[in-house]
Structure formats: C-alpha cells, structure tokens
C-alpha cells in the first residue's frame, strides 16, 4: 500500500512538473506577443542570448559532430565491409546523422552549455534577490529573462542541428575519402542520393522542440531554486539531468510517431 502511494505521489509530481513547464512556455508565448516591455530591448536581449547559445556553441559542436560522423562511418564500415557494401557508408552516415544523431547531439551539447547556464543564472538571481528587484522595478522576470531565451533557442537550435548534420557528413566524408573507395565528389553525390529532405526536416522540428524543452527546464529549475549557493548547484544539476531525460523521451515519441506514419503511408 505504501508503495502504491509513493508511486502515485511520484507520478503526480512528474505530471505537475511537466505542467509547470507548459505553463512557463504558455506564459512566455503570451508575454512575447503582449509584451509589457519594449520590443526593441527584448530583441536586443534575444540576440545577446542567441550569440551565447548558438554562435558560442559552434566550435565545440562542430568538433563533436565531426568526430561522431567519423565514428559512425568507422563502425558502419566494420559491418558493411563483410557484406562488400562499402559504398553504403555514405548513406549510413547521412541517414543516422540527419535523422537522429545531429539533433540529439546538438541538444545534449546545448543542455550542457546553456540549459545549465540558464538554471545557474536564474537560480543565482533568486538567491541574491535580483528576481525580486526586477519585479519591484515592474520588470516581469519571465518577460525580462525567459522570453529572450525561448526566442534565442527557437531560432538557434534548428540552425545548430543543420550545422551538425553538415559537420557529421563531413566527418563521414573524411573516412570515406581516406580509407574507403570514395573521392570527395563521389561521397557528396552518394550522400545527396541518400539524403531525404523529409529526414532533415524532421531533424529540424525535433531540434526546435528540444530547444524549447531545454529552455523551459533550465528556467523552471532556476526559478524554483531555494535560498543558498548549494541550491543553485542542485538546480543546475537537475536542469541537466531532467533535460537529458526529457529530450530522450521526446526523441522516442517522435521516432515512434514517424515510424507509424511511415508504416501507414
């Protein structure tokens, strides 16, 4: 009986948590269109965030997805070689990167860089009463802090996903040219033939949703920070852990949906 109550309480908490995320998103959306603050200043802050979230992530993102591209090509070649199907390496890389790994790795890097930063920033502002100060200056913390973050993420995540698709394919290409029997040109043509616009599009949609979830979790964790430095650390940790969990879950749901949609078509 005790066990059932505990499970019940835990699921109630999880539903309430996700409800809180949706509420934060809804409030931000409303404040975006009916902003009590000046629009130009809002855009300035959004651009500032976009630089930090998107442009700042480019170097590390390029490096990681490039290597993942090489790894996928290597792992694939291992198996494909035995079947004498080395020419399929290009399509293997392009499909697995654009459909799955590009957006997912983008999300995980962004969680580490920005989701955690959102939670730490807002959490510290809670501890130092800066959030209260904003409120007493008639600057709604959600409108002032969260809306620009959502805006920046919604724009930058799809861009980053496309960029990581590109870098991943480039990584695969390196392997293809160095040790497979591809030339740069033939690899590009093989990739182009394997790549379906639909795959890239679903990747972009996924990246967008991931970005919104990461922002919502990071900011919510920040707002719910308690009263000390230790709590800021705790919020940051749970922002990262919860974001990763939710991103993987959403990825699963998306993949199942796309699979079913494909089955009926």
């Amino acid at each position: 009986m005790q066990f059932v109550t505990e499970v019940g309480a835990a699921s109630e908490r999880s539903v309430a948590y996700v409800g809180g995320l949706a509420q934060l998103f809804g409030r931000s959306l409303r404040l975006l269109f009916f902003s009590p603050l000046k629009r130009t200043r809002l855009l300035q802050r959004a651009v500032h965030q976009a630089m930090a979230v998107g442009v700042g992530a480019l170097p590390i993102m390029s490096l990681i997805t490039f290597f993942v591209g090489v790894i996928i090509a290597l792992q694939g070649a291992y198996q494909l070689q035995r079947l004498g199907a080395m020419q399929l390496v290009a399509s293997l890389v392009s499909i697995s990167i654009t459909r799955e790994l590009g957006p997912l790795i983008t999300a995980i890097v962004v969680i580490g860089r920005s989701g955690s930063a959102f939670a730490a920033e807002i959490g510290t502002m809670r501890v130092t009463e800066e959030l209260d100060a904003l409120e007493t200056m008639a600057l709604d913390p959600v409108a002032f802090l969260v809306v620009p973050k959502f805006l920046a993420m919604a724009v930058m995540m799809p861009c980053l996903a496309v960029w990581s698709d590109f870098m991943g394919v480039l990584g695969g290409c390196l392997f293809g040219v160095v040790s497979g029997n591809f030339t740069f040109g033939s690899y590009v043509i093989a990739t182009r033939d394997a790549m379906v616009p639909h795959d890239v599009a679903t990747g972009i949609v996924k990246a967008l949703v991931f970005g919104l979830v990461i922002t919502a979790v990071g900011c919510q964790e920040g707002f719910s920070t308690g009263a000390g430095a230790e709590d800021v650390g705790r919020s940051t940790t749970s922002a990262v852990v919860v974001s990763i969990l939710l991103v993987i879950l959403i990825d699963l749901v998306f993949t199942v949906l796309f699979y079913l949609a494909r089955g009926t078509a």
Partner: protein
C-alpha cells in the same frame, strides 16, 4: 505632535496577516503612512519586519487583510495596475540586489530604458546625477561585484531613485556597515527627505539611525505592533517589550531554558 489624520494615507495596511505554510508571521497589522513622512519599522530579527516590507511592495501575498498604496489595494490589483504602482515606488534591497551581469550605470539606467521614452543621452545624464546623489560618481562602468558592500547599497539607492519614485522603501539600509558608512547613509536618507519630501519606509534594527531619521516609529515584535507613534513618544514608552528593545536587554527566557537543561543534566550525572 503632528496631525496625521487629515491627509489621505499614501500607504496603509488593514488587518494585515501573512502566513508561511501554517506559521503566521504577521498577526493583523494596522497602520497608515501619510505623504512626506519617514516611518521607521523597528524590530529584532524574526520580528517580521522584512516580511512586512516585502508585503507592502507586493512581493509577498498576505493571507488576509489589505494593503493600499496610493488608494489601490495591491492585494487585489491586476498585473497592469501593479506595474503602474511599481513604477511609483522604489525599493533598496538589503544586499543591493543589483543585476550582476550589468555594470552599475546600466543597473540604474535599466528602469529608465524599459519604462520611459527618454533619449539614451538623457538617461546617461540622469544616471550620472543619481550616482552623484549617492556619492558614487564615476562608478558607472564598474560591475556590482567590484563594489564594496556599502557602495553596493548606495548603488541600490541610486537605482531605487532612478524613476523619481513617490514612495521609497529601504530594507536594512545600514545593516552590516561600518559606523562611518552607516552615518553616511543616514545623511543620505535625511537629504532625500529634505530635498524631495518623499514618503519613506525604512526597515531597520539600528536604534541610533532609527531615531535620527524617523518621523514616526513602528516597533514590531513577533509579528505584532507593540508601539507606534512619533519617535519621541516611542522613546519614552513604558511598554516592557519596547523598553527591553530600546535598552538593549537580552531575552531571559532562553537563559532560563539553558539553566533548566543544566539542572536536568546535572541530576543525571
């Protein structure tokens, strides 16, 4: 004695109760503050004076009762009404609460940039004036982290003054400062009082500064008002809790507890 009954109150609380969980922190406070008055809320730690301040500016929701600021009940005000009121009040936080990611100048410019249509050059001049008022001219480009505690407090005053508020709230303006800096802050409050005839509510536990700046004093003890009136009247009060607070007499109850405990433990030994 002044006649506070004639002008309409700028800030008033009626049967104000605030609860954290099931613990009531403020037990039904009633008071009125009129225009141009400096009211000091005195009280020990845990007396509920910071909670009172947070409730007066709308950061804390009372569990019952009403707070009126300039005639509007802020416990029932819409977000829009609340924003309008907040533009007329300034709050200087205990720790400053300056936005850490912005330099001092931009912190002070922030409400002006967001809420007014003034030109950036005008705002720059205003920021310089406000900083000069609090004795921090030339510190526009410092980050809050580079300032000392007292400077941060003064920068917070400058920010609270930025919108030329009608009502100023101070949370522990001189707590944790050396006597010289604390005296400087008292002078600053007196200057503001003289120059702008602002309505000010100061929360503090510093007796000397309270009697220096206050027109009226509200003495809070464990969430209730034990004394309220002109500074002189409170100073001469015969109420035992007031006397204890003003004469800095330690609470004896805790010592009794320790004695009792010792009695018991000695017996065991």
């Amino acid at each position: 004695m002044a006649a506070p009954s004639t002008p309409a109150p700028v800030v008033s609380a009626r049967d104000l109760r605030v609860q954290y969980g099931d613990r009531e922190v403020l037990h039904g406070l009633n008071f009125e503050i009129v225009h141009g008055e400096t009211v000091v809320v005195l009280g020990g730690s845990g007396s509920g004076k910071s909670t009172l301040l947070r409730t007066l500016v709308g950061l804390e929701k009372p569990s019952s009762g009403a707070v009126h600021i300039k005639g509007v009940d802020i416990t029932r005000a819409s977000a829009r009404e609340m924003d309008a009121i907040r533009k007329k009040i300034g709050l200087a936080f205990q720790g400053g609460a300056l936005i850490g990611s912005l330099p001092v100048g931009e912190n002070i410019a922030l409400p002006l940039l967001e809420h007014t249509t003034l030109k950036p050059t005008t705002i720059e001049v205003m920021v310089r004036i406000k900083l000069e008022q609090v004795g921090l001219s030339g510190f526009e480009n410092y980050s809050p982290a580079q300032l000392s505690g007292g400077m941060r407090k003064r920068a917070a005053f400058a920010r609270a003054l930025a919108m030329d508020p009608e009502i100023l709230f101070f949370d522990e303006p001189s707590a944790g400062l050396d006597p010289i800096t604390a005296a400087g802050i008292d002078d600053l409050i007196l200057d503001l009082k003289k120059a702008y005839s602002m309505t000010m509510v100061v929360v503090t536990h510093e007796l000397a500064s309270a009697f220096l700046i206050a027109d009226r004093i509200i003495l809070l003890d464990r969430g209730s008002i034990v004394a309220m009136g002109p500074a002189q009247e409170v100073r001469d009060s015969r109420h035992p809790r007031v006397r204890q607070f003003l004469d800095r007499v330690a609470d004896t109850t805790e010592d009794d507890d320790v004695d009792n405990l010792r009695l018991f433990t000695d017996g065991i030994r």
